[in-house]
């Protein structure tokens, strides 16, 4: 009697040769993804690979290969195949070897399942906070809670290479609890399933701009960024923080990254052309064109990565089971060998 199509597919998937074919294809495709720079804008591929190849890359989403639906479908197919293989073998024989092999394969499915969970239900956001600034986590799609940056600090080696970045954080009213903790790179804050990572930093300047008509505005401008004063006239303000200005030499050089002699270089730019600039200390102001700029102050800002992802725990459980299964298998094999 002829097999039904579904039955035929399961039989094919349950054979190990299919699993290995899928594995080899996934490996080859992954390798391809390391040769094509990932995640650039479509124009980039047109310029670097030419029209036709560039089009092929973007149409097949080879530029976002690891997130492409067909790549994820392939991983799903691998999962199915592994599962069917494992079940089939369990039905045939039972021994420590088969048992450990089953654990290992289920562990891999758990890892991939956890990764799918992360992809589907994981949620993360980058939040930049100046010292003293506060933000509601609900605004970023998390459970309600008030996150405040109390202090940000950089420790340096003697040669001014950064040793550690750390942020003193307060998280209030998050799922009925308050947290007050210093985080650093490799030491995130954990609040239930929520984790907050130290991810970047910079300087933030408080500047008051006063236009010719007397209108004034107070703005917070991150270092090396720009602020549109007047879009219609292509007029913008740029600001660069100079932490330790060297006053013994001409030009604008910083002796160290520490705020020992802090200045801010502000520039008024019209149509990408600098039409006026000045160096300011905190509290000073300058007239550039028809605008008056005052530097009210400056502080660090801390770039925080806030994440909620329960898939991580499935993945890590999978990791543990995989290693445990391998170890049991290795020991069992050794015992069999010694007995023989």
């Amino acid at each position: 009697m002829a097999k039904k199509p579904l039955q035929q597919i399961t039989t094919t998937l349950a054979s190990m040769s299919s699993a290995i074919y899928i594995l080899v294809i996934i490996g080859a495709i992954s390798a391809l993804g390391t040769l094509i720079p990932q995640g650039q804008a479509p124009d980039f591929y047109m310029q670097h690979y030419g029209g036709l190849t560039g089009r092929i890359i973007t149409v097949l989403s080879l530029h976002r290969l690891y997130q492409a639906w067909w790549f994820l479908a392939m991983l799903l197919l691998l999962c199915l195949s592994i599962l069917l293989c494992a079940v089939k073998r369990l039905r045939r024989t039972r021994s420590v070897l088969i048992f450990s092999s089953l654990i290992m394969h289920l562990a891999i499915i758990l890892v991939l399942g956890g990764a799918a969970w992360s992809l589907g239900y994981g949620h993360s956001a980058n939040i930049e906070l100046a010292e003293g600034q506060s933000v509601s986590l609900a605004e970023f799609g998390f459970a309600p809670g008030q996150l405040t940056l109390d202090r940000f600090q950089i420790d340096y080696y003697p040669d001014y290479q950064p040793r550690q970045y750390s942020s003193l954080l307060s998280l209030q009213g998050y799922q009925g609890q308050d947290y007050h903790q210093e985080i650093a790179v490799n030491h995130p804050l954990k609040a239930g399933y929520l984790k907050i990572y130290q991810s970047s930093w910079g300087w933030m300047m408080q500047i008051t701009t006063q236009a010719a008509d007397g209108q004034s505005k107070s703005i917070a401008l991150p270092d090396r960024s720009e602020y549109w004063l007047d879009q219609s006239r292509h007029l913008k303000l740029q600001a660069i923080f100079v932490p330790d200005l060297d006053e013994t030499r001409p030009g604008i050089n910083s002796l160290s990254p520490l705020p020992r002699n802090p200045h801010v270089l502000i520039a008024l730019v019209e149509h990408d052309r600098v039409i006026g600039m000045n160096l300011l200390r905190a509290g000073e102001s300058a007239q550039l064109g028809e605008y008056k700029f005052s530097l009210d102050g400056f502080s660090y800002y801390s770039g925080l990565n806030v994440k909620e992802d329960r898939g991580v725990y499935l993945v890590f459980t999978g990791f543990f089971l995989l290693l445990a299964g391998m170890l049991v298998r290795y020991l069992a094999e050794n015992m069999v060998r010694k007995a023989a």
Partner: protein, 279 residues
């Protein structure tokens, strides 16, 4: 590099060089005592290699596992560790002939090709300040060491088989190489050890990345190539278990697997990054 560390490094290098020459002599002339002497010299080289790593640990005030140069010196150390273990437990002849030149090449590359800036002791950047760094790199060294031994055994198997195919079974190389079954079995055992350790490398890296950046996997070229390596060895073990692939086919996969190991380190560092850097 401090002067004492430099001295220890040079001693290791000279000893490994001498061990290669002695191995060739012992093998060609079938002098058992020369081969044993080569083992002693190898052990001396390994002791000096260990000393170089210890001296660096002292002057850097951390484990010597955090830049390319330190990794290569430790990689050579790991290969020789498994080589000596193999000589002690499995007592296979002639493996040094195929394996020690790899060690020699790695150290020569580290000494000559690496720019001085990469050899200097540099303080750890914040992302590297984690205990997972030690677990991750230490398991990598051991894994790569075991896989290097499996590679040498696989190459020996292929050489021996080629001689058998050409009916040149009277040649000295054929006669003095261990039997094909023994080579095959030992190769398999080193792959299982290396594969387990490689799993630990990838897993510790993922856990560490989750702690440092909040993401356990981001498909960067290094991660991806370590996964590809893992898939190759995984496939190798499966076809052996289920389809009984032995001998030549199994050896070919072992060679491809080790090529992937080397590519994960050298290729990704020097070639793929270069490819990306125009962007």
């Amino acid at each position: 590099m401090g002067i004492y560390e430099d001295l220890a490094f040079s001693t290791a290098f000279v000893a490994y060089t001498a061990a290669i020459l002695l191995s060739v002599w012992g093998f060609a002339a079938k002098h058992e005592h020369v081969t044993r002497f080569a083992d002693y010299i190898t052990a001396c080289g390994w002791a000096a290699n260990t000393l170089a790593l210890i001296l660096r640990t002292i002057s850097a005030e951390r484990l010597p596992l955090s830049n390319g140069f330190e990794f290569l010196v430790a990689f050579a150390w790991g290969i020789v560790l498994f080589y000596m273990w193999m000589r002690y437990r499995h007592r296979l002849q002639a493996v040094g002939l195929f394996l020690l030149p790899i060690v020699w090449g790695i150290l020569a590359y580290a000494a000559v090709e690496m720019p001085a800036s990469q050899k200097a002791i540099t303080p750890l950047m914040p992302a590297l300040k984690s205990n997972w760094l030690s677990v991750h790199v230490a398991t990598a060294i051991l894994s790569y060491g075991a896989l290097a031994v499996s590679f040498a055994l696989a190459v020996m198997h292929l050489v021996k088989e080629r001689y058998a195919q050409n009916k040149s079974t009277t040649s000295r190389l054929y006669k003095n190489l261990p039997g094909m079954d023994v080579l095959d079995e030992s190769c398999y055992r080193f792959i299982t050890i290396g594969f387990f350790l490689l799993s630990m490398v990838i897993i510790s890296g993922a856990i560490w990345a989750e702690q440092a950046w909040g993401s356990y996997w981001s498909w960067d070229p290094k991660e991806t190539w370590s996964l590809i390596t893992w898939l190759i060895y995984g496939a190798c073990l499966h076809v052996r278990q289920t389809y009984g692939w032995r001998g030549r086919r199994s050896s070919v996969i072992a060679v491809i697997g080790f090529a992937a190991v080397l590519f994960t380190f050298f290729g990704v560092n020097y070639w793929l990054v270069g490819l990306h850097s125009y962007a």
